[in-house]
Symmetry: C2
Subunit: 348 residues, 2 copies
DNA sequence: TAATGGTGCGCAAACGTTTGCCCGTTTTTT
DNA sequence: AAAAAACGGGCAAACGTTTGCGCACCATTA
């Protein structure tokens, strides 16, 4: 029974008509008579005919496929994003070619090449953490393969991207804590190399200004996102003159490390010490001691937007729009979410 | 600069030689002289030539692409598995076409069709929860597209699969609790419709027999995996005559619900009431009150095995092995892991 | 009646490769 | 010196589609 799939050619031979007629009949082309059209369709379904996409790809110069390159599939943020991307692609009849860079610049470059060879119509990329040169992305320009970056944006000119701005979320977070009566608010920030750290710091400062409070730089400490580094950061904050009663942490992992450490120090979470964090982890719902509030970054939404933009771009291109000079730069505002009611806010 | 990619044909014209010569030269075919070979390669790299994969696919009848269909990309288990699959595929020069069924039988069927049309060389599937008919998978047989199922296995004959057997892990889990001195051990199991529930129950019973203890059916209660249902199950257990001092829960979500509820009831976790669960969640590392031990299901390993099997199958097929009658049926034994030392056991 | 227009379909090129087969030189063998 | 072998390379088919163009036939119109 190991039959090769039926082709348009076989149908033509069996019906003793030409290949082109079969093709047109299957596409309901007006110039084909009703009777032949029906005959063709009948036989096609009898033979279980399905068009060979690879042939169509070759012929049309497009593959209805988008490539997605991101650092780590198993990270909650990205798996949520890819889930959204796949949903979007599916809705618009595209397929997703997936690859992970493992934050390795070399691999990222290879993947871009591979995607190009596979003739993906467009690319969705969240850049590897330690990618320093962006030539591999620039190269794609001359082949007219559009790229939309999301979340991790390279320092390039004239690119499409969607990212999440942490500043407002941070302002809200700090304001939230101020409103709750805290007067000394600490921040365990990430490494200065990440632009996200800058946004958080800016937000913190702006919140202080906005509330006519004075900014104490010693209340912002950095960590490299590891557990030990987080513990050290917390220790430093707790030892400072103006010992904070609330802390904003760079992300949920840091928050959990800090909460764990604080608990060991016999501090009561949300009483002695209150936390606000940035939501990377969906599972925070299931925990007992959690940050009182989180700044949601909407991974699902980011993936969705990015995919939609790319697909729009491709649709334009297919309709013959030659050259667009405008670039999509979508900033999704982060949003403070109180964690008791978080369930209703699930990004999906 | 919007240049279309260079083709083998252009190279041939520029060098005034034939297309076939160029092709062979690029493949280091012995029948091409050194000088022409070098000329060809030089020009090729100058023109930034890259072979058009879609053309090669059409010509060779294979795409070096495997399709992956699973229920939910954003679930930790699957995102871990897909991460492994992508790694394997990459190593063996394959690419991954990804799609999620959202546990919808109809969509799953469409996806199988789509994958077929895209001419994937093979398929990796974790079946949708409520798929009842498997015809869409059977159909692929006649097109000689191999499928390897993983984790969620359909009730079909003659299939390749890799799955995780919970029985041994459960025996170990119960034995572990017995060894710690518990004499009344409860189980919050999943719905009877899931085969995984059966395995867990079997394991529980066997552990009792093995330790020459009598099995009390009232200590096993079911829940539908929701929070409220879990609470009810726990209440039921706590109200039973032989109030358990330890509980085995169906998965980590259930464990967390139960732990939360128990905490509210002023029970001390791991003192008044000890938990053992099944590890679906990588994040359990970050929590304070966690099950004392977990039965690890190795999602990364499952994905890896499944991908390797599929790729082996494809390699065989490509080397002309006509018909294999043997089917891979890989059972990965689950393994009990004490959670303090869990970090070292990370599946990856 | 002759010109016009519509209808229904076929021819063949094109997409970019790979590869079996053939053929003309040169080199080696006997 | 003649035959055989090796070398280097070209021709063309094939993979399965889509689509511009051309053509024959029949039915209108003037």
């Amino acid at each position: 029974m190991r039959s090769k799939p039926a082709t348009i050619k076989e149908i033509a031979q069996l019906l003793k008509i030409s290949i082109s007629t079969v093709s047109r009949a299957l596409h309901d082309h007006p110039s084909i008579g009703l009777t032949t059209r029906q005959k063709v369709k009948k036989l096609a379904s009898e033979l279980n005919y399905e068009p060979n996409q690879t042939a169509i790809f070759l012929q049309q110069g497009r593959t209805l496929t988008i490539g997605v390159i991101l650092p780590e599939l198993s990270e909650a943020f990205f798996s949520s994003a890819i889930s959204a991307i796949e949903d979007c692609a599916y809705k618009r009849n595209y397929t997703v070619l997936l690859a992970q860079s493992h934050d390795d610049e070399q691999k990222e470059k290879q993947l871009v090449e591979k995607m190009k060879n596979h003739r993906v119509d467009g690319l969705l990329v969240s850049v590897s953490k330690n990618t320093s040169s962006y030539q591999h992305f620039e190269n794609l320009r001359q082949y007219d393969i559009p790229i939309v970056f999301f979340d991790r944006i390279p320092a390039m000119q004239n690119i499409h991207y969607v990212a999440c701005n942490m500043e407002i979320g941070t302002i809200d977070a700090v304001s939230y804590l101020l409103k709750k009566g805290h007067r000394s608010i600490g921040m365990i920030n990430g490494p200065a190399t990440l632009s996200a750290s800058g946004e958080r710091k800016e937000g913190y400062i702006k919140a202080m200004i906005k509330n006519r409070l004075k900014f104490d730089p010693s209340l912002i400490v950095s960590c490299d996102l590891t557990e030990t580094s987080t513990q050290a950061a917390l220790d430093e904050l707790l030892a400072s003159k103006r010992k904070p009663t609330a802390i904003v942490t760079f992300n949920d992992y840091v928050a959990l490390f800090a909460i764990k450490h604080a608990t060991n120090l016999k501090l009561k979470i949300n009483e002695d010490l209150e936390f606000v964090s940035y939501a990377n982890l969906p599972l925070i719902n299931y925990m007992e001691s959690i940050p009182a509030a989180s700044v949601e970054q909407f991974p699902y939404l980011q993936g969705q937007k990015a995919a939609d933009i790319l697909l729009d771009l491709l649709a334009q291109k297919h309709q013959g729009v030659t050259e667009q000079t405008a670039y999509y730069k979508i900033i999704i505002e982060s949003q403070l979410v109180e964690n008791s009611s978080m369930t209703g806010f699930k990004s999906k």
